[in-house]
């Protein structure tokens, strides 16, 4: 299998992740030094037994055990606290706002457009580079946690509450986000794709996102209707408006299937539709393994055409 997009906090592509990674490296070096000294002294005490002067030892305990930690911890705490306001501060008014809801086990995403319109998509988030973006996070069932390690810290999604998170991507590229809070059976398979693009590309993508789907005459869409897919899924422009499952309006543009479980290829889509529970045990969608082969092919062609 080819390499997946980065999901690493040590490969920062955002302001938050970068600051935190630097903080980590600094702390790791300090911790290593402290460890070497303390363990070194203990080994010395055992390897070279000999009574040491109690008075000097007293200085050792007070200095090493009490004063030194107090000084180091005060400095570290101050530094950590000084990082907080910037991380916690919301993105400036007028910046892009994105609603993300955690649903077992996928992500409902909604973009707030400048004219006040809100358009929905799922399991994929596009962000403009070098801008702070404000996420408003909710949950529709259990507690989830929204985490894009390359861009910054995580934030829980809690039923009955709206939490918020600001991210500031600084590098164009594709990244991976995951659910970090244990949320049940398919917790391990609840990921999403994050694409950081230039402002111009982002706007083009957003324009496409708000438009209904391009082609409504494909025969596969009849299969979609016939088998009741519309009970859960929506495809704007075709009159199908299910809200239980992910919105599929521009499905053909997406990088992956089933909350970033499989890359979006026709073969994988076929596996997903017919062997849903083998690909992602626990998923709420029933498998459609009774579809006739030609129906399946038509359906796949249609879905891949939704752009």
């Amino acid at each position: 299998m080819s390499d997946l997009p980065s999901q690493s906090a040590l490969d920062p592509a955002g302001v938050g992740a970068e600051n935190i990674a630097n903080l980590f490296y600094a702390m790791a070096v300090g911790a290593a030094l402290i460890w070497i000294i303390v363990v070194g002294v203990s080994i010395y005490a055992i390897r070279f037994p000999g009574e040491h002067d109690a008075r000097k030892t007293r200085v050792f305990v007070i200095g090493g055990g009490a004063l030194f930690p107090t000084v180091v911890l005060t400095a570290l705490l101050s530094y950590g606290l000084s990082m907080l306001p910037d991380l916690q501060r919301p993105a400036p008014q007028g910046n892009q706002v994105i609603d993300v809801a955690g649903v077992r086990w996928w992500w409902r995403v909604a973009y707030h457009l400048p004219d006040g319109e809100i358009v929905e998509t799922a399991n994929e988030i596009l962000l403009p580079v070098d801008e702070a973006v404000e996420f408003k996070l909710t949950s529709e069932d259990v507690i989830h946690s929204f985490w894009i390690p390359s861009l910054g810290g995580k934030m829980d999604m809690i039923p009955g509450r709206e939490t918020r998170l600001k991210l500031f991507p600084t590098r164009i590229g594709v990244y991976r986000g995951v659910c970090a809070e244990f949320c049940g059976t398919a917790h391990a398979q609840m990921s999403f794709d994050v694409i950081v693009e230039s402002r111009a590309n982002f706007e083009r993508w957003l324009d496409n996102l708000r438009s209904p789907t391009n082609d409504v005459s494909l025969p596969g869409l009849n299969v979609f209707h016939k088998h009741g897919c519309g009970a859960c899924h929506a495809i704007r422009g075709t009159g199908v408006d299910g809200v239980v499952g992910p919105d599929l309006t521009h499905f053909g543009n997406r990088h992956s299937i089933g909350a970033a479980v499989l890359p979006n290829t026709p073969e994988n889509l076929s596996r997903w539709i017919t062997q849903t529970h083998i690909v992602k045990p626990g998923v709420e969608m029933p498998p459609f393994d009774r579809l006739a082969p030609e129906e399946l092919d038509e359906l796949i062609v249609a879905l891949e055409q939704l752009r």
Binding site: M1, L4, Q7, S8, A9, D11, G16, A17, I20, F24, A31, I34, V38, V39, V41, S42, A45, I46, P49, G50, E51, T57, F60, V61, G65, A66, F68, P69, L73, L77, G80, L81, L84, P85, L87, L137, D141, V142, I143, S145, G152, G153, K154, M155, D156, I158, G160, R161, T163, V178, A180, E181, F182, C183, G184, T185, A186, A188, P281, G282
Partner: protein, 832 residues
Amino acid sequence: MDDRAERLLQAWQTPKGWRYWSAVNNSEVGLWYTLTAFAFFLFGGVLALIMRVQLAIPNNDWLTPEQYNQVFTMHGSVMMFLFAVPILEAISILLLPQMMGARDLPCPRLSAYGFWCFLIGGVFVCGSLFFGVGPRGGWFMYPPMTTEYQTDIGPDIWLLGLSFIEIASIAAAVELIVGALKCRPPGMRLNLIPLYAWYILVVAAMILFAFPPLIAGDLLMELERAFDWPFFDAERGGDPLLWQHLFWIFGHPEVYIVFLPSVALVAMIVPTFARTPMAGYSWIVLAAVGTGFLSFGLWVHHMFTTGLPGISIGIFSAASQAVAIPTGVQIFCFIATLLIGRVTKNVCILFVLGGLATFIIGGLTGVMVAIAPFDYQAHDTFFVVGHLHYVLIGGTIFPIVAGIYYYYPFVTNKQLSERSGTISFWLMLVGFNVTFFPMHYTGLIGMPRRVYTYPSGLGFDIPNMISSVGSFVLGISFLVVLWDILRPKRKQPLVPRNLWNAGTLEWCAQVPDKPWGIRSIPIVSTRYPLWEQENFLDDIDNGSFYLPDAEEGLRETMVTSTVDAQPMQVLRVPGPSFLPLLAAMFTGGVFIFSTYHWWVAASVSALFSFSTIVFWLWTGTALIPEKQNKHVGLGLTLPTYVSGPSAVGWWAMFITMLGDMTAFMSLVFGYFFYWTVHESFPPIEFDGRAIIGPGILWPMVSVGCGLAAWGAVLVAHRMNKIDQSLLFFFSLFVSIGLSLASALALSCSVYSTGMDPTHHVYSASVCVLVLWAVVHTLVGAVMLVYCGARRFAGRMDARHDADIVNVRLYWHFLMLTITITGVVISLFPLVA
């Protein structure tokens, strides 16, 4: 052996044959407890290996997600609730009395009851895994997943089974606090207590304040699951975050509850092998007490990513940093002791050093995750898995294994093999680090916790494979330890007495050991009496100290004062009995039947459990002795019966009620928590129905009756004291009537107004307070009936009044409970 020793031996004889299981003496119960906890540890370890097999390669489908979720849930729960906390209590039950020259803990039957509860509850919870119905919500059980989305009995098994064990843990904590404070040898002032006892005192006090919030949370969650009271249901005003608060108020101190007793073992082992007293005694007590307090200010650092305000996060981040200071102090004291002394190398010291090196890494990564911004990334990833295992295995397992090697001869009079100890040490050290060090990296490159599998291509494959290989090396190291413990040692010679040449009292035990604990209870004037007091062992063996005899054939130990350990009482401790086992079985029945919602069976079991416990109390506690005073040796005469603050029973009641009050305050906290998260609380209406409150009249009537009943209890106590029998019974009668009236009035505040606890979280949080207060009031009434019966039966009189004194103490707390309940539910809405 002289007559005196003969009689003493007779009194402390361990029962033979099948009656062996009726033993209640700390050496038997402590041993069973330790072995059971160790067995659960091995079980938890096997679960860990199963997880590592599953995670060895990407996209593995060896386990289904449901199986994996049960396995990791049980791994965490077993290690925390069935191993880590119980083993410390087990070891303390085994060792503490001996370290303090006592013959037993003050309430041996309570320890036995706690042990049987632990065994029954533990087997029940673990057993669920074999039927595929184990809990699968994680050891943290976050709702609403565990309330609305798991409707099987898994979560009930967790909630009820583990609550049952938590209660047993609290019982043991009460016992250990009283033991450490009141059962020290004469002369062992606060500044001479073995450091182990200091740690255990702090830890037991922490259990007392940490477990009740969890029990309160369990109660709320079970009420939601069984009766649909919407505490955590956001749709009806509930809030899942309340559970997180209650769980972590327990969960973080828990880490230190697990860690400190192991440090306590280190504090016993290090001076022995350094051949010098522990350096910085005061500093270590500072560290123990300081950690005990600060650890209660850390709980929100498990909730840094729940969207709390930055200042709240900062406050908890600050406390999390501060707690590192006392930890640093105690580590440096250990190292200083090693520097001052002349260390003899030994496998125990090897494990101590390995533990130290490992724990420091865990401590340092702990400081890192306590910095909130870093935690935003590290939280809920394998970094935290690595961190916590460094803390718990380095801080707990290594010292416990050191303790096993150190104390094995104390228990069995045989020695473990130095060679296999060394082998297992290196296997453990290497296996452990190979398993857990890579996890820090795995977490930082983005692997979340609690995933049953992971995709290939994210860089997780290699570190996970390394961890899995390491985990088996770690597993083998425990097999080596286990083999060393279990291998037959019949041909091996007995160890010499005090083979490590230690300085503390537990090593006074003779070889072969006698069941009497100690031949005579010594006077202690130094921290290491075996090193520093002349002719000490001979004086003990010759019975030259206190209580060398059992003239009446009764089991006796000494009670001393809290600070200066001045002799205060000869305490008669009960001997073998099956009552604790029976009571534990019936109590277990209540919890187990409730899991399946078999309410009738549960009620019958509750009735039996109640009767057994009453019978036990009636026949076994506060017995009027045949003589008021007793000569205990060295020209000292002590009373055989005391009541009030000098008596261990009073302390046990006081300490238990502190825990009870903590659980109650957690429920009150819940009420105010909902007040803060709601715009208006109580709301005017919800879901088209008006929200009904309890009103003012009934709660106030209840408070009035409650206060009057409390006053009548005070009068009854007074009348008993001045031996006014008639007036005693009269005021007792009045007080029972008033307490029933109080309970009734409080129930009326719910029933007559038609409050529906399933309507909104406001109704539910009022009802749970009412429920708590009513149950406690009824228990208070039953206690009064008991006192009346005791006096009527001649088992209590003006001089021997422990029953009414203890019940009066209960009523002080009850009065607070009733008043707070009434004020909160009826008056607070007026000002909110």
